[in-house]
Protein backbone atom coordinates (compact mmCIF):
# COMPACT_ATOMS: atom_id res chain seq x y z
CA UNK A 1 0.00 0.00 0.00
CA UNK A 2 1.42 3.40 -0.86
CA UNK A 3 2.26 5.30 2.31
CA UNK A 4 2.16 9.07 1.92
CA UNK A 5 3.91 9.47 5.21
CA UNK A 6 7.08 8.34 3.52
CA UNK A 7 7.00 11.48 1.32
CA UNK A 8 5.30 14.10 3.42
CA UNK A 9 6.57 14.53 6.97
CA UNK A 10 3.77 14.70 9.55
CA UNK A 11 4.35 18.35 10.41
CA UNK A 12 4.41 19.42 6.74
CA UNK A 13 0.85 18.45 5.87
CA UNK A 14 -0.50 22.02 5.34
CA UNK A 15 2.51 22.84 3.13
CA UNK A 16 2.00 19.65 1.18
CA UNK A 17 -1.66 20.45 0.61
CA UNK A 18 -0.73 23.95 -0.49
CA UNK A 19 1.85 22.65 -2.92
CA UNK A 20 -0.56 20.05 -4.27
CA UNK A 21 -3.31 22.61 -4.80
CA UNK A 22 -0.86 25.01 -6.41
CA UNK A 23 0.28 22.36 -8.84
CA UNK A 24 -3.30 21.45 -9.69
CA UNK A 25 -4.25 25.05 -10.36
CA UNK A 26 -1.13 25.77 -12.38
CA UNK A 27 -1.51 22.52 -14.24
CA UNK A 28 -5.14 23.18 -15.15
CA UNK A 29 -4.36 26.74 -16.18
CA UNK A 30 -1.60 25.49 -18.41
CA UNK A 31 -3.85 22.79 -19.80
CA UNK A 32 -6.58 25.31 -20.66
CA UNK A 33 -4.40 27.92 -22.31
CA UNK A 34 -1.13 26.75 -23.77
CA UNK A 35 -0.56 30.44 -24.38
CA UNK A 36 2.79 31.44 -25.77
CA UNK A 37 2.46 34.85 -24.14
CA UNK A 38 0.87 33.76 -20.89
CA UNK A 39 1.08 36.26 -18.09
CA UNK A 40 1.66 39.45 -20.13
CA UNK A 41 -1.70 41.13 -20.91
CA UNK A 42 -0.28 43.61 -23.42
CA UNK A 43 1.47 40.83 -25.31
CA UNK A 44 -1.74 38.77 -25.19
CA UNK A 45 -3.65 41.66 -26.75
CA UNK A 46 -1.01 41.96 -29.47
CA UNK A 47 -1.09 38.21 -30.14
CA UNK A 48 -4.87 38.38 -30.46
CA UNK A 49 -4.79 41.34 -32.82
CA UNK A 50 -2.19 39.64 -35.01
CA UNK A 51 -4.33 36.53 -35.15
CA UNK A 52 -7.39 38.57 -36.10
CA UNK A 53 -5.44 40.40 -38.79
CA UNK A 54 -4.34 37.03 -40.18
CA UNK A 55 -7.99 36.11 -40.58
CA UNK A 56 -8.71 39.49 -42.17
CA UNK A 57 -5.96 38.96 -44.71
CA UNK A 58 -7.35 35.52 -45.45
CA UNK A 59 -10.86 36.92 -45.98
CA UNK A 60 -9.45 39.54 -48.29
CA UNK A 61 -7.65 36.91 -50.34
CA UNK A 62 -10.82 34.85 -50.65
CA UNK A 63 -12.80 37.94 -51.68
CA UNK A 64 -10.43 38.41 -54.60
CA UNK A 65 -11.41 34.97 -55.87
CA UNK A 66 -15.11 35.51 -55.15
CA UNK A 67 -15.16 38.86 -56.93
CA UNK A 68 -13.15 37.42 -59.83
CA UNK A 69 -10.34 39.90 -59.29
CA UNK A 70 -7.53 37.46 -59.91
CA UNK A 71 -7.63 35.41 -56.72
CA UNK A 72 -6.92 31.70 -57.19
CA UNK A 73 -8.69 28.70 -55.72
CA UNK A 74 -5.36 27.64 -54.19
CA UNK A 75 -5.23 30.92 -52.29
CA UNK A 76 -8.79 30.25 -51.15
CA UNK A 77 -7.78 26.84 -49.79
CA UNK A 78 -4.78 28.24 -47.91
CA UNK A 79 -6.87 31.11 -46.58
CA UNK A 80 -9.72 28.86 -45.47
CA UNK A 81 -7.22 26.73 -43.56
CA UNK A 82 -5.80 29.85 -41.89
CA UNK A 83 -9.22 30.95 -40.74
CA UNK A 84 -10.05 27.50 -39.46
CA UNK A 85 -6.78 27.33 -37.50
CA UNK A 86 -7.31 30.69 -35.83
CA UNK A 87 -10.97 29.94 -35.14
CA UNK A 88 -9.88 26.99 -33.02
CA UNK A 89 -7.80 29.10 -30.63
CA UNK A 90 -10.24 31.97 -30.12
CA UNK A 91 -11.57 30.29 -27.00
CA UNK A 92 -9.82 30.36 -24.64
CA UNK A 93 -6.29 31.19 -25.84
CA UNK A 94 -6.99 34.49 -27.57
CA UNK A 95 -9.30 35.84 -24.89
CA UNK A 96 -7.70 35.35 -21.49
CA UNK A 97 -9.09 37.34 -18.58
CA UNK A 98 -7.52 40.72 -18.05
CA UNK A 99 -7.23 41.75 -21.72
CA UNK A 100 -10.35 43.90 -22.07
CA UNK A 101 -10.61 47.56 -23.14
CA UNK A 102 -8.11 49.55 -21.11
CA UNK A 103 -5.32 47.03 -21.58
CA UNK A 104 -2.95 48.24 -24.31
CA UNK A 105 -5.15 49.05 -27.33
CA UNK A 106 -7.60 46.23 -26.73
CA UNK A 107 -11.05 46.57 -28.30
CA UNK A 108 -12.46 43.59 -26.43
CA UNK A 109 -15.54 44.59 -24.46
CA UNK A 110 -15.85 43.28 -20.90
CA UNK A 111 -19.15 41.79 -22.09
CA UNK A 112 -17.10 38.92 -23.51
CA UNK A 113 -16.26 37.57 -20.07
CA UNK A 114 -19.64 38.57 -18.62
CA UNK A 115 -21.41 36.61 -21.36
CA UNK A 116 -18.81 33.90 -21.81
CA UNK A 117 -21.24 31.12 -22.90
CA UNK A 118 -22.71 33.40 -25.60
CA UNK A 119 -19.19 34.38 -26.69
CA UNK A 120 -18.18 30.73 -26.85
CA UNK A 121 -21.25 30.03 -28.98
CA UNK A 122 -20.37 32.67 -31.57
CA UNK A 123 -16.75 31.57 -31.62
CA UNK A 124 -18.07 28.06 -32.19
CA UNK A 125 -20.08 29.35 -35.16
CA UNK A 126 -16.87 30.57 -36.74
CA UNK A 127 -15.30 27.15 -36.30
CA UNK A 128 -18.32 25.55 -37.98
CA UNK A 129 -18.57 27.99 -40.86
CA UNK A 130 -14.84 28.07 -41.57
CA UNK A 131 -14.76 24.26 -41.59
CA UNK A 132 -17.52 24.33 -44.21
CA UNK A 133 -15.52 26.88 -46.18
CA UNK A 134 -12.50 24.57 -46.17
CA UNK A 135 -14.75 21.80 -47.50
CA UNK A 136 -16.33 23.95 -50.20
CA UNK A 137 -12.88 25.21 -51.22
CA UNK A 138 -12.07 21.67 -52.37
CA UNK A 139 -14.31 22.42 -55.35
CA UNK A 140 -13.56 25.23 -57.75
CA UNK A 141 -17.15 26.40 -57.66
CA UNK A 142 -17.08 30.17 -57.38
CA UNK A 143 -20.76 30.48 -56.49
CA UNK A 144 -20.55 27.96 -53.66
CA UNK A 145 -17.36 29.51 -52.33
CA UNK A 146 -19.00 32.94 -52.50
CA UNK A 147 -22.01 31.75 -50.53
CA UNK A 148 -19.95 30.15 -47.77
CA UNK A 149 -17.56 33.13 -47.73
CA UNK A 150 -20.62 35.27 -47.03
CA UNK A 151 -21.64 32.95 -44.19
CA UNK A 152 -18.19 33.21 -42.59
CA UNK A 153 -18.23 37.01 -42.95
CA UNK A 154 -21.57 37.13 -41.21
CA UNK A 155 -20.19 35.32 -38.18
CA UNK A 156 -17.23 37.72 -38.08
CA UNK A 157 -19.64 40.65 -38.10
CA UNK A 158 -21.99 39.14 -35.54
CA UNK A 159 -19.21 38.78 -32.99
CA UNK A 160 -17.77 42.23 -33.63
CA UNK A 161 -21.25 43.65 -33.38
CA UNK A 162 -21.72 42.52 -29.79
CA UNK A 163 -18.24 42.17 -28.42
CA UNK A 164 -15.88 44.61 -30.15
CA UNK A 165 -15.67 48.29 -29.35
CA UNK A 166 -14.06 50.21 -32.17
CA UNK A 167 -11.57 52.62 -30.68
CA UNK A 168 -12.23 56.35 -30.77
CA UNK A 169 -9.26 57.67 -32.69
Amino acid sequence: MFDIRRIVPANRTPAAIGIALGLIVAGSAAAQSPNPVAGDPAAQVKHREESMKKMGGAMKAISQYVKNEGGTIDAVRTSAATIQDVSKIIVPELFPKGTEIGVADSEAKPDIWQQWPRFQEIAGNLQTESAKLTQVAQTDDRAQVAAQFGAVGKTCGSCHDTFRQEKKK
Binding site: M52, K53, M55, G56, G57, A58, M59, K60, A61, S63, K67, G150, G153, K154, C156, G157, S158, C159, H160, D161, T162, F163, R164, Q165, E166, K167, K168, K169
Partner: protein, 272 residues
Protein backbone atom coordinates in the same frame (compact mmCIF):
# COMPACT_ATOMS: atom_id res chain seq x y z
CA UNK B 1 -46.09 46.32 -52.61
CA UNK B 2 -42.65 45.39 -53.86
CA UNK B 3 -41.80 49.07 -54.04
CA UNK B 4 -42.97 49.63 -50.48
CA UNK B 5 -40.97 46.63 -49.26
CA UNK B 6 -37.83 47.91 -50.99
CA UNK B 7 -38.23 51.36 -49.46
CA UNK B 8 -38.83 49.74 -46.08
CA UNK B 9 -35.45 47.99 -46.40
CA UNK B 10 -33.64 51.03 -47.78
CA UNK B 11 -34.90 53.24 -44.95
CA UNK B 12 -34.09 50.64 -42.30
CA UNK B 13 -37.37 50.90 -40.40
CA UNK B 14 -37.13 47.37 -39.02
CA UNK B 15 -33.92 47.95 -37.10
CA UNK B 16 -35.02 50.92 -35.01
CA UNK B 17 -38.65 49.95 -34.58
CA UNK B 18 -37.97 46.42 -33.31
CA UNK B 19 -36.53 45.55 -29.91
CA UNK B 20 -34.44 42.63 -31.14
CA UNK B 21 -32.31 42.30 -28.01
CA UNK B 22 -35.43 42.33 -25.83
CA UNK B 23 -37.17 39.72 -27.97
CA UNK B 24 -39.72 42.26 -29.19
CA UNK B 25 -42.11 41.63 -32.06
CA UNK B 26 -41.24 43.20 -35.43
CA UNK B 27 -42.10 46.91 -35.70
CA UNK B 28 -43.77 46.96 -32.27
CA UNK B 29 -41.18 49.43 -31.01
CA UNK B 30 -39.48 49.57 -27.63
CA UNK B 31 -35.92 49.47 -28.87
CA UNK B 32 -33.76 51.72 -26.69
CA UNK B 33 -31.60 54.21 -28.56
CA UNK B 34 -29.01 55.62 -26.17
CA UNK B 35 -27.82 59.08 -27.19
CA UNK B 36 -25.91 61.88 -25.46
CA UNK B 37 -29.33 63.45 -24.81
CA UNK B 38 -30.87 60.46 -23.09
CA UNK B 39 -32.45 57.18 -24.12
CA UNK B 40 -35.28 57.16 -26.63
CA UNK B 41 -37.65 54.23 -27.10
CA UNK B 42 -38.97 53.66 -30.59
CA UNK B 43 -42.75 53.60 -31.05
CA UNK B 44 -45.04 50.92 -32.40
CA UNK B 45 -45.53 51.28 -36.16
CA UNK B 46 -47.52 48.11 -36.73
CA UNK B 47 -51.06 48.52 -38.09
CA UNK B 48 -52.48 48.09 -34.58
CA UNK B 49 -55.36 50.58 -34.35
CA UNK B 50 -54.79 51.49 -30.70
CA UNK B 51 -51.04 51.59 -30.14
CA UNK B 52 -49.73 51.49 -33.69
CA UNK B 53 -50.47 53.50 -36.81
CA UNK B 54 -53.46 51.48 -37.95
CA UNK B 55 -55.83 54.45 -37.86
CA UNK B 56 -53.49 56.91 -39.57
CA UNK B 57 -54.57 58.61 -42.77
CA UNK B 58 -52.23 59.10 -45.71
CA UNK B 59 -51.92 62.75 -44.69
CA UNK B 60 -50.94 61.74 -41.12
CA UNK B 61 -48.19 59.50 -42.44
CA UNK B 62 -46.83 62.10 -44.83
CA UNK B 63 -46.87 64.75 -42.12
CA UNK B 64 -44.90 62.49 -39.78
CA UNK B 65 -42.13 61.90 -42.30
CA UNK B 66 -42.18 65.33 -43.94
CA UNK B 67 -42.68 67.59 -40.91
CA UNK B 68 -41.87 65.43 -37.91
CA UNK B 69 -45.35 65.89 -36.44
CA UNK B 70 -47.76 63.39 -34.96
CA UNK B 71 -51.45 63.29 -35.99
CA UNK B 72 -52.31 65.31 -32.89
CA UNK B 73 -49.93 68.04 -34.00
CA UNK B 74 -47.21 67.40 -31.39
CA UNK B 75 -43.63 67.28 -32.62
CA UNK B 76 -41.47 64.15 -32.77
CA UNK B 77 -38.04 64.00 -31.19
CA UNK B 78 -35.42 64.07 -33.94
CA UNK B 79 -34.18 60.67 -32.81
CA UNK B 80 -36.76 59.82 -35.45
CA UNK B 81 -34.68 60.96 -38.43
CA UNK B 82 -37.41 62.92 -40.20
CA UNK B 83 -34.84 65.58 -41.09
CA UNK B 84 -33.73 62.98 -43.64
CA UNK B 85 -37.06 61.30 -44.45
CA UNK B 86 -38.49 64.74 -45.25
CA UNK B 87 -36.61 64.46 -48.57
CA UNK B 88 -38.62 61.40 -49.64
CA UNK B 89 -41.12 61.70 -52.47
CA UNK B 90 -44.79 61.48 -51.58
CA UNK B 91 -45.15 58.44 -53.85
CA UNK B 92 -42.50 56.61 -51.85
CA UNK B 93 -44.00 57.63 -48.52
CA UNK B 94 -47.38 56.23 -49.54
CA UNK B 95 -45.83 53.04 -50.91
CA UNK B 96 -44.12 52.61 -47.55
CA UNK B 97 -47.38 53.20 -45.70
CA UNK B 98 -49.12 50.61 -47.86
CA UNK B 99 -46.40 48.08 -47.09
CA UNK B 100 -46.51 48.78 -43.35
CA UNK B 101 -50.26 48.22 -43.40
CA UNK B 102 -49.65 44.61 -44.43
CA UNK B 103 -47.45 43.88 -41.40
CA UNK B 104 -48.60 41.97 -38.30
CA UNK B 105 -50.45 44.27 -35.83
CA UNK B 106 -49.10 44.17 -32.28
CA UNK B 107 -51.08 45.53 -29.36
CA UNK B 108 -48.15 47.03 -27.46
CA UNK B 109 -48.16 50.51 -25.94
CA UNK B 110 -45.26 52.86 -26.51
CA UNK B 111 -42.65 53.24 -23.82
CA UNK B 112 -41.97 56.83 -22.68
CA UNK B 113 -38.55 58.22 -23.51
CA UNK B 114 -35.97 58.51 -20.75
CA UNK B 115 -34.66 61.96 -21.57
CA UNK B 116 -34.03 64.64 -18.97
CA UNK B 117 -34.76 68.37 -19.25
CA UNK B 118 -34.45 70.34 -21.40
CA UNK B 119 -33.99 67.73 -24.10
CA UNK B 120 -37.11 65.92 -22.96
CA UNK B 121 -39.30 69.01 -23.37
CA UNK B 122 -41.34 68.20 -26.43
CA UNK B 123 -42.70 71.75 -26.69
CA UNK B 124 -39.19 72.95 -27.54
CA UNK B 125 -38.90 70.72 -30.59
CA UNK B 126 -40.56 73.21 -32.97
CA UNK B 127 -37.61 75.49 -32.18
CA UNK B 128 -35.25 72.70 -33.17
CA UNK B 129 -37.28 72.12 -36.33
CA UNK B 130 -37.04 75.78 -37.30
CA UNK B 131 -33.27 75.60 -36.95
CA UNK B 132 -32.56 72.18 -38.40
CA UNK B 133 -35.46 70.84 -40.45
CA UNK B 134 -35.36 71.66 -44.15
CA UNK B 135 -38.60 70.04 -45.34
CA UNK B 136 -39.37 68.70 -48.78
CA UNK B 137 -37.64 66.84 -51.58
CA UNK B 138 -34.11 67.80 -52.66
CA UNK B 139 -33.90 69.92 -55.82
CA UNK B 140 -32.08 68.38 -58.80
CA UNK B 141 -28.49 69.49 -59.44
CA UNK B 142 -27.84 70.36 -63.11
CA UNK B 143 -24.33 69.04 -63.66
CA UNK B 144 -24.83 65.70 -61.86
CA UNK B 145 -25.93 62.46 -63.53
CA UNK B 146 -28.76 60.04 -62.78
CA UNK B 147 -26.57 57.70 -60.75
CA UNK B 148 -25.47 60.55 -58.49
CA UNK B 149 -29.07 61.66 -57.97
CA UNK B 150 -30.16 58.11 -57.16
CA UNK B 151 -27.24 57.81 -54.75
CA UNK B 152 -28.19 61.10 -53.13
CA UNK B 153 -31.77 59.93 -52.64
CA UNK B 154 -30.64 56.63 -51.12
CA UNK B 155 -28.14 58.30 -48.81
CA UNK B 156 -29.87 61.55 -47.85
CA UNK B 157 -33.56 60.65 -47.93
CA UNK B 158 -33.88 56.91 -47.26
CA UNK B 159 -30.65 55.62 -45.76
CA UNK B 160 -30.38 58.69 -43.54
CA UNK B 161 -26.65 57.94 -43.28
CA UNK B 162 -25.77 61.49 -42.22
CA UNK B 163 -27.79 61.09 -39.03
CA UNK B 164 -25.14 58.74 -37.60
CA UNK B 165 -22.13 59.73 -39.67
CA UNK B 166 -22.24 63.45 -38.76
CA UNK B 167 -21.33 64.99 -35.41
CA UNK B 168 -24.08 66.88 -33.59
CA UNK B 169 -23.92 70.14 -31.67
CA UNK B 170 -25.22 70.47 -28.13
CA UNK B 171 -28.73 71.11 -29.41
CA UNK B 172 -28.71 67.86 -31.32
CA UNK B 173 -28.54 69.49 -34.72
CA UNK B 174 -26.16 68.14 -37.33
CA UNK B 175 -22.83 69.95 -37.62
CA UNK B 176 -23.24 70.62 -41.34
CA UNK B 177 -19.59 71.64 -41.89
CA UNK B 178 -18.65 68.11 -40.91
CA UNK B 179 -21.41 66.25 -42.69
CA UNK B 180 -20.46 62.57 -43.09
CA UNK B 181 -17.17 63.16 -41.28
CA UNK B 182 -18.11 60.79 -38.49
CA UNK B 183 -18.89 61.31 -34.83
CA UNK B 184 -17.07 60.25 -31.68
CA UNK B 185 -20.37 60.15 -29.78
CA UNK B 186 -22.77 58.29 -31.99
CA UNK B 187 -25.86 56.37 -30.97
CA UNK B 188 -25.39 53.74 -28.25
CA UNK B 189 -22.06 55.28 -27.36
CA UNK B 190 -20.31 54.00 -30.44
CA UNK B 191 -17.92 56.12 -32.47
CA UNK B 192 -18.90 56.45 -36.10
CA UNK B 193 -16.38 56.72 -38.97
CA UNK B 194 -15.72 59.49 -41.47
CA UNK B 195 -17.14 58.42 -44.85
CA UNK B 196 -16.08 61.46 -46.86
CA UNK B 197 -13.35 60.93 -49.48
CA UNK B 198 -10.65 62.34 -47.23
CA UNK B 199 -7.64 60.02 -47.77
CA UNK B 200 -6.40 60.11 -44.16
CA UNK B 201 -9.46 60.47 -42.01
CA UNK B 202 -12.13 59.15 -44.35
CA UNK B 203 -12.50 56.57 -47.09
CA UNK B 204 -10.60 58.43 -49.81
CA UNK B 205 -8.48 55.34 -50.50
CA UNK B 206 -11.50 53.10 -50.98
CA UNK B 207 -12.51 52.24 -54.53
CA UNK B 208 -16.15 52.11 -55.65
CA UNK B 209 -15.81 48.31 -55.44
CA UNK B 210 -14.52 48.57 -51.86
CA UNK B 211 -17.56 50.64 -50.90
CA UNK B 212 -20.07 48.34 -52.59
CA UNK B 213 -18.41 45.29 -51.00
CA UNK B 214 -18.71 46.99 -47.63
CA UNK B 215 -22.39 47.72 -48.23
CA UNK B 216 -23.08 44.23 -49.53
CA UNK B 217 -21.33 42.06 -46.92
CA UNK B 218 -19.77 44.42 -44.37
CA UNK B 219 -16.18 43.68 -45.38
CA UNK B 220 -13.65 46.51 -45.31
CA UNK B 221 -10.68 46.70 -47.72
CA UNK B 222 -8.32 44.97 -45.28
CA UNK B 223 -10.64 42.01 -44.82
CA UNK B 224 -11.99 43.19 -41.47
CA UNK B 225 -15.75 42.89 -40.95
CA UNK B 226 -17.79 45.76 -39.54
CA UNK B 227 -19.27 45.42 -36.11
CA UNK B 228 -21.39 47.72 -34.00
CA UNK B 229 -24.03 49.77 -35.74
CA UNK B 230 -22.95 49.30 -39.33
CA UNK B 231 -23.27 45.52 -39.17
CA UNK B 232 -26.98 46.04 -38.52
CA UNK B 233 -27.23 48.48 -41.43
CA UNK B 234 -25.61 45.94 -43.76
CA UNK B 235 -27.86 43.10 -42.59
CA UNK B 236 -31.13 45.09 -42.61
CA UNK B 237 -30.59 47.54 -45.42
CA UNK B 238 -27.63 47.72 -47.72
CA UNK B 239 -27.27 43.99 -48.36
CA UNK B 240 -30.86 44.06 -49.66
CA UNK B 241 -30.38 46.80 -52.23
CA UNK B 242 -29.72 46.15 -55.89
CA UNK B 243 -26.07 46.22 -57.00
CA UNK B 244 -26.91 49.32 -59.05
CA UNK B 245 -28.21 51.10 -55.98
CA UNK B 246 -25.10 50.19 -53.98
CA UNK B 247 -22.98 51.60 -56.82
CA UNK B 248 -25.10 54.76 -56.78
CA UNK B 249 -24.46 55.16 -53.05
CA UNK B 250 -20.74 54.67 -53.67
CA UNK B 251 -20.78 57.23 -56.48
CA UNK B 252 -22.53 59.76 -54.24
CA UNK B 253 -20.11 59.21 -51.37
CA UNK B 254 -17.08 59.49 -53.65
CA UNK B 255 -18.38 62.84 -54.87
CA UNK B 256 -18.80 64.34 -51.40
CA UNK B 257 -16.47 67.15 -50.36
CA UNK B 258 -13.64 65.57 -48.36
CA UNK B 259 -13.65 66.55 -44.71
CA UNK B 260 -10.42 65.96 -42.84
CA UNK B 261 -10.07 64.48 -39.40
CA UNK B 262 -10.61 61.15 -37.78
CA UNK B 263 -13.76 61.75 -35.84
CA UNK B 264 -14.06 58.18 -34.79
CA UNK B 265 -14.26 54.57 -35.82
CA UNK B 266 -12.01 52.37 -37.87
CA UNK B 267 -12.72 53.16 -41.49
CA UNK B 268 -9.45 54.92 -42.10
CA UNK B 269 -7.48 52.27 -40.25
CA UNK B 270 -9.07 49.64 -42.45
CA UNK B 271 -7.94 51.33 -45.65
CA UNK B 272 -5.16 49.80 -47.65
Amino acid sequence: MARGAYIFNAAGCLGCHTDVKGGGKPLAGGRPLATPFGTFYSPNITPDPEHGIGRWSDADFIRALREGKAPDGSAYFPAFPYASFTHMTEVDMLALKAYLSTREPVNQPNRPHDVGPPFGWRFLIPVWQTLYLDPGPLPPVPDRDGEWHRGRYLVEALGHCAECHTPRNFLGGLDTDRRFAGSPAGPEGKSVPNITPDPQGGIGNWSVGDITTMLEIGMMPDGDFAGGGMNEVVQNTTSKLTPEDRRAIAAYLKALPPVAGKSGGGAEAASR
